[in-house]
Amino acid sequence: MSKAPSGDSPVHLRLPYLGLALIGGTLGTAAREAITLAFPSTSGIPWAIFAVNVLGAFLLGVLLDALARMGPDEGRRRRLRILIGTGFTGGFTTYSALATDTASLLGEGRVGIGYGLGTVLVGGIATWAGIAAAIALHGMHHATVTRRTVDAPQSGDSL
């Protein structure tokens, strides 16, 4: 009874978290629209949406893997996951435009199949590359920390 009701409810029902998704999603959607306005589709293929989806898939791969390596999904890590992951990259990327454009392009045969399958395939590779980048960054950080702790006594001696 003394506990705040929000502390017991599942993450997706807590207003502060839904608010973070709203902020991130607004910024992500604005970024997507800015890019599609700057690069109008040429020859009927929506390259801007393709690029947005692939870039967003890469970013989410980096983010989720990096956060998982830093510790359990709680506190600041959970807030970052919802703000940047669920919100920003979720709002930035889009499946509805991918599906609608694929359906429209299917009238032109191979172009539609190529666009749909190509996005899913390249997006998957981008996610994998994002995860690999997070692993590499973590490794570099870990190596730096290890070197510092090894160096520390020596620099202490010289003082």
């Binding site: 599942p10 993450v11 997706h12 029902l13 978290y17 839904l18 608010g19 998704a21 709203l22 902020i23 991130g24 999603g25 607004t26 910024l27 992500g28 959607t29 604005a30 997507r32 629209e33 599609t36 306005l37 989806n53 967003g56 898939a57 970013l59 989410l60 791969g61 989720l64 919802i82 992951g85 669920t86 919100g87 990259t89 979720g90 709002g91 930035f92 990327t93 889009t94 499946y95 509805s96 435009a97 991918l98 599906a99 609608t100 694929t102 359906a103 429209s104 299917l106 749909g116 399958l117 996005t119 899913v120 997006g123 998957g124 981008a126 996610t127 994998w128 995860i131």
Partner: protein
């Protein structure tokens, strides 16, 4: 596009992202197994919605501003490619090859079919 439409479109995308979080949490908490049903349901329903909306604009029932705010904004923010892709790769990492392939291709085929159906229905109106 006017600045007002741009801002409304972006905010609608934020609302879409919150709606996605809510619905995904609701579905995921009621499902067991490795298949990400929440994301699948969101992407298929959002694709049906955008197809319908696009078809309606073609029939000149809906203005382009509403198409931008509800379609590009709300449904764009509601559906997500990044999470769908991440879930596919996570299934690959867990060596659930078949489930991963079914998730990736199944979502693409079903969402495209839903969008195509929406385009047809919207175009008839």
């Amino acid at each position: 596009m006017t600045a007002l439409v741009f801002i409304a479109l972006a905010l609608a995308g934020g609302l879409g992202a919150s709606a996605r979080m809510l619905l995904d949490g609701f579905i995921t908490s009621r499902m067991s197994g490795v298949m990400p049903w929440g994301t699948i349901a969101i992407n298929v329903s959002g694709s049906l919605g955008l197809g319908l909306l696009t078809g309606l604009v073609g029939s000149q029932i809906l203005s382009e501003a509403w198409q931008l705010i509800i379609g590009t904004g709300f449904l764009g923010g509601y559906t997500t490619f990044s999470t769908a892709s991440f879930e596919t790769i996570r299934l690959v990492q867990e060596r659930k090859w078949a489930t991963s392939l079914v998730n990736a291709l199944g979502t693409l085929v079903t969402a495209t079919a839903a969008a195509g159906l929406g385009l047809r229905i919207g175009g008839l109106a």
